[in-house]
């Protein structure tokens, strides 16, 4: 039987309960790594593996095992080096492929100055557009915005190409980005006029 306690909360020796004592007057609480129980109440070894990755307890959440950290480092650097090799291989393939074949787009007299014509070049899934400006120049670019591949809309009157998705703007004369998020110029499609017909002769991918 313990001695009866003074129920008044501000009695001597119990100042802490009135909010005036420092925490050092209490005995230290031992650190517990894991106190929360999983809902099914089974032991930790019987739990699915993801429970170890998403612990509810604060100490377990902050704990990083040396093995896990090493695994993260190794796998991440492996992924980076594989990615670099993949880029190199792709570049090699692109260099070997050569220029795409000629393709007739339209007759020159069908494309009046100030009009826009959409075509596909070099493949069926590479949408491009041809603009004939008021002064007769022929300009052709890939239609995929260099930001997130939305279809861009040329505006020959204002001399810009606009991307409606994120308000990206390209210069019509050069295809270079002048406003908004696009990072690179649009790929330029090289066009030629032979015997009154317009031909696409190649694609110039540009980084700046």
């Amino acid at each position: 039987m313990t001695t009866p306690l003074d129920p008044r909360i501000d009695s001597p020796g119990r100042e802490g309960l009135t909010g005036t004592a420092r925490s050092s007057v209490y005995e230290a609480v031992t650190d517990r790594d894991q106190i929360s129980l999983p809902p099914d109440g089974r032991s930790d070894s019987a739990q699915p593996a993801w429970r170890g990755d998403f612990p509810i307890d604060w100490p377990a959440d902050h704990y990083v095992a040396r093995r896990d950290f090493t695994r993260f480092l190794v796998l991440t650097s492996l992924a980076f080096s594989v990615g670099q090799w993949w880029i190199a291989v792709q570049q090699w393939w692109r260099d070997r492929r050569g220029r795409p074949p000629l393709k007739r787009i339209a007759a020159l007299r069908d494309v009046v100055p100030g009009s826009v014509l959409v075509f596909a070049y070099p493949g069926e899934n590479d949408p491009c557009f041809l603009v004939r400006t008021r002064d007769g120049a022929l300009l052709a670019y890939g239609q995929k915005c260099t930001h997130l591949s939305c279809a861009v809309i040329p505006d020959p009157e204002r001399g810009v190409i606009r991307c409606p998705c994120h308000e990206g703007l390209f210069e019509l004369g050069s295809g270079r980005p002048i406003a908004g998020p696009p990072p690179r110029p649009l790929p330029r499609v090289l066009v030629e006029v032979r015997n009154g017909d317009i031909y696409a002769t190649g694609v110039e991918e540009r980084t700046v």
Partner: protein
Amino acid sequence: MKPDHLQFFIDPSRCIGCQSCVQACTECDTHRGDSMIHVEYVNRSLSTQTVPVVCMHCDQPTCAEVCPADAIKRTADGVVQTARKPRCIACGNCVMACPFGVPELKLERQIMMKCDMCYDRTSVGKKPMCATVCPSQALFYGTREQIEQLRPRSIPTNRFQFGKQTITTGVSVMVPRDGPRPEVLDVTAAMDTEPATRARSGASRIPGLEVLADPFAEIEV
């Protein structure tokens, strides 16, 4: 770290609905303007009885179990902390899941905030703010021996039944010492049982007082 021997006790029968705890909580600098405690009416149409609602700090926190962003954590002293700011995505899963209805979504700030038992105060040995201001001590923070001496007619319990889910909490609720004392408090079953009220039981317990008509009864026209 919160001292182990100091615990939180809620005595709903002592709550007078004065909202002092809400005001005190609102003035705290860690979440100024928002109260992490709320005072609820048990059954507004039948009674003025209110009950303060603070986080119960469960042993198996359902809010943390359902959190897809891994934002709700429990410290080693058993306090379930409010959402970690960098992780919380304000999805509201915890708001739906908590059987006690504690977490609140702050949509304009895109974060969930809930009672963390005034961790800035209790971790240095002070009382939670609501427990210091409660005039009727419906909210009590102290040792178990103290509450047993102060409330000889009730006993703290911390096991609750919500449907098929049994919850053991860090915060205790005072229940009458005499009368039936089940292993767990079955909350969902208690919601279905009709309380023995003066108005509905058909006979007034106070002599000379007429039985009040049910104000929400349908009227035949």
